[in-house]
């Protein structure tokens, strides 16, 4: 594909993104309250999925830590929510996640492949159990209340996080850092031999992706009003972003976005009526997606386009 093709395609997608943002930003004016809440949930999953893809997509390191950073954001909101204004709480939520991700990344990103995945997962469970022990034995109370914020504000904050994330993801992909990340995913030794500082790049990207997860957690906490370690560090927040990204396809930026929107909407549809069947269905989608859609929906779209292109040329 020529570089001109890439540029025009990206500006087309950027245009679509702007349109989506404008539509979303004006939605509280005409849409019913329920839709705004639904859109917030969908945006939350989009933020988790896209920020997961920033790091794990190009490098191929499967991080199961989203729930840890999301939960850190939630606990930041719970502890600071009453003392500080909302904007500060969200920013601090992101920064705390960033710092913890830097520390975690610096010591763990030496681990390869499956070790990294199980380490990050262990991290979620470790934080969850330490907090639980701390709450039960030291403070003597389990769980906390979070200061309540109205739904429209939550929605707008989530929208801002979403826009910042999409821009970050877009520019990382287009910059030389994106290329460097891609080369780490393809062959880490080769990447370090051509002069890429592999460790620094991995750690920084891992931490950047954690900012958005933390910020999303901080704002979502205000909607849940009550939280405890099991709610905040729910391991589903680690699995679902992975599932959504795989389902959408990580080859293009819009893949994880699409995957998250479709599955988050499906969750909302199923959760109220069939709470058991919904996770069952998610499991089936996950297995089928891995077996038959290795490149996700994006791969499917690209395949169709290629076939359509071929057919058009065959006819002329």
């Amino acid at each position: 594909m020529s570089s001109k093709g890439i540029t025009s395609r990206s500006s087309f997608l950027l245009g679509i993104l702007c349109l989506v943002v404008v539509l979303l930003a004006t939605s509280p004016m005409y849409a019913p309250a329920y839709i705004v809440i639904l859109l917030t949930s969908i945006l939350m999953y989009v933020v988790l999925t896209v920020s997961w893809t920033i790091f794990s997509g190009p490098t191929g390191y499967i991080s199961l830590a989203p729930a840890a950073f999301f939960g850190i954001g939630i606990y930041t909101a719970a502890t600071l929510g009453e003392a500080l204004p909302l904007a500060a709480v969200v920013i601090i939520g992101g920064l705390v996640s960033f710092i913890i991700a830097l520390l975690v990344g610096a010591v763990t990103l030496r681990l390869r492949g499956i070790y990294f995945a199980i380490f990050t997962f262990g991290l979620v469970l470790l934080i969850q159990h330490l907090l639980l022990w701390y709450e039960v034995n030291i403070t003597g109370t389990r769980g906390r209340f979070v200061i309540v914020v109205d739904n429209t504000t939550i929605f707008y904050v989530m929208l801002i996080i979403f826009v910042l994330l999409m821009l970050t993801a877009f520019f990382i992909r287009r910059s030389k850092y994106g290329l460097a990340l891609q080369s780490i995913g393809e062959n880490e030794e080769a990447a370090s031999h051509i002069g890429i500082n592999v460790t620094v790049l991995k750690v920084i990207t891992f931490a950047i992706s954690a900012i958005f997860m933390g910020a999303a957690g901080a704002i979502m906490a205000t909607r849940w009003t009550y939280i405890d370690p099991y709610i905040a560090f729910n391991t589903n927040f680690s699995f679902l972003p992975v599932l959504m990204a795989i389902f959408g396809g990580m080859g293009q930026l819009y893949g994880p976005f699409l995957g998250a929107v479709i599955l988050a909407y499906l969750e909302e549809l199923l959760l109220t009526e069939f709470p058991y069947y919904y996770m069952l269905l998610f499991g089936i989608i996950m297995v089928v997606a891995i077996l038959y859609l290795p490149n996700g929906i994006v791969g499917l779209i690209q395949k169709w386009r290629k076939e359509g292109f071929r057919r058009k040329h065959a006819n002329t």
Binding site: G60, T108, I114, Y115, I118, L280, M286, L291
Partner: protein, 289 residues
């Protein structure tokens, strides 16, 4: 003081026997078939709930349920490998990609098995009492069911070791663990052997489930905790090493029972801490290469 030490030590061995059995199954699935089966605990849950169901509904002796749970989970595991994982193995470009993909697919399986069990049995906590009479060992008192659990774990572990070391199939499994491609060239029916290992791993989980149900309350969402313990044990013993996971199980069990004695709420947190420190300091474990 001496009685306390003996108490904690024996409790640790009893816990460790269970951990060793669960981890050996996972070790077989990961060490040979290269599938880090996150749904491992769900097979255990199936074994446990099935035993509970057969015992309370039909009054079938839990120990006799071994003959039902084991073969059933074996067949499920065998078929899963012949269909799902075999397909993934042929479609993945490198062994590394296969490991990631098969781990993610097993996450999907976890959701499927767990929710099928929730639909079938509901989410209530279930228990029954069987062999609850106590036995006195040097002043420390234990339930007979715990001792039976330990006995079974040791017997199954030793039997399996003999199977690996002495039989032709065992030799094929060891060859496949070293290098599947070359084992295939040497005339080992590799798909059959990998599926057999996956099935045997599930069988051990099924056995362990039956033993767990004798000692602890069970429910449909119990599996995941055992999966994480099994992962910790196999990392402790060295990923892929079956004797390592047997020893690792006992080590973790003893550590667990010491922590439970000192600070009950921190048992699981201490496992994760050990796990994380281990991954950072010596990711190959005690017997890993």
């Amino acid at each position: 003081m001496l009685t306390t030490i003996l108490d904690v030590l024996i409790a640790g061995l009893l816990l460790g026997g269970l951990y060793a059995l669960i981890a050996m199954g996972l070790s077989l699935q990961y060490g040979v078939a290269r599938v880090l089966n996150i749904a491992h605990g769900e097979f255990l849950m199936l074994g446990a709930l099935l035993t509970w169901w057969l015992y309370t509904m039909f009054g079938i002796n839990p120990l006799a349920c071994l003959a039902i749970c084991g073969p059933l989970t074996f067949v499920i595991g065998f078929i899963l490998h012949r269909t799902l994982y075999k397909r993934l193995r042929t479609s993945s470009a490198t062994p590394g990609i296969f490991e990631s993909n098969s781990m993610l697919a097993s996450f999907g399986l976890l959701f499927i098995i767990q929710n099928v069990a929730l639909i079938a049995w509901g989410s209530q906590i279930k228990s029954y009492s069987y062999l609850t009479s106590t036995i006195d060992i040097g002043g420390a008192v234990f339930g007979a069911n715990r001792l039976v659990t330990l006995g079974f774990a040791v017997v199954i572990g030793i039997a399996f070791y003999i199977f690996l070391a002495r039989t032709r199939t065992g030799k094929a499994i060891r060859a496949a663990a070293q290098d599947p491609a070359i084992a295939g060239l040497m005339g080992v029916n590799i798909n059959q052997i990998l599926a057999l290992c996956f099935g045997l791993g599930a069988l051990m989980a099924g056995f362990a489930g039956m033993l767990v149900s004798m000692c602890y309350p069970v429910n449909a969402v119990m599996g995941f905790e055992y999966t994480t313990i099994a992962i910790i044990v196999i990392v402790l013993g060295g990923l892929g090493s079956i004797p390592g996971s047997f020893i690792g199980g006992f080590i973790l069990g003893i550590i667990g029972s010491i922590v439970i004695y000192l600070q009950p709420g921190l048992a699981l947190a201490s496992y994760y801490l050990i796990f994380i420190v281990l991954l950072l300091v010596k990711p190959t474990g005690i017997l890993g290469k």
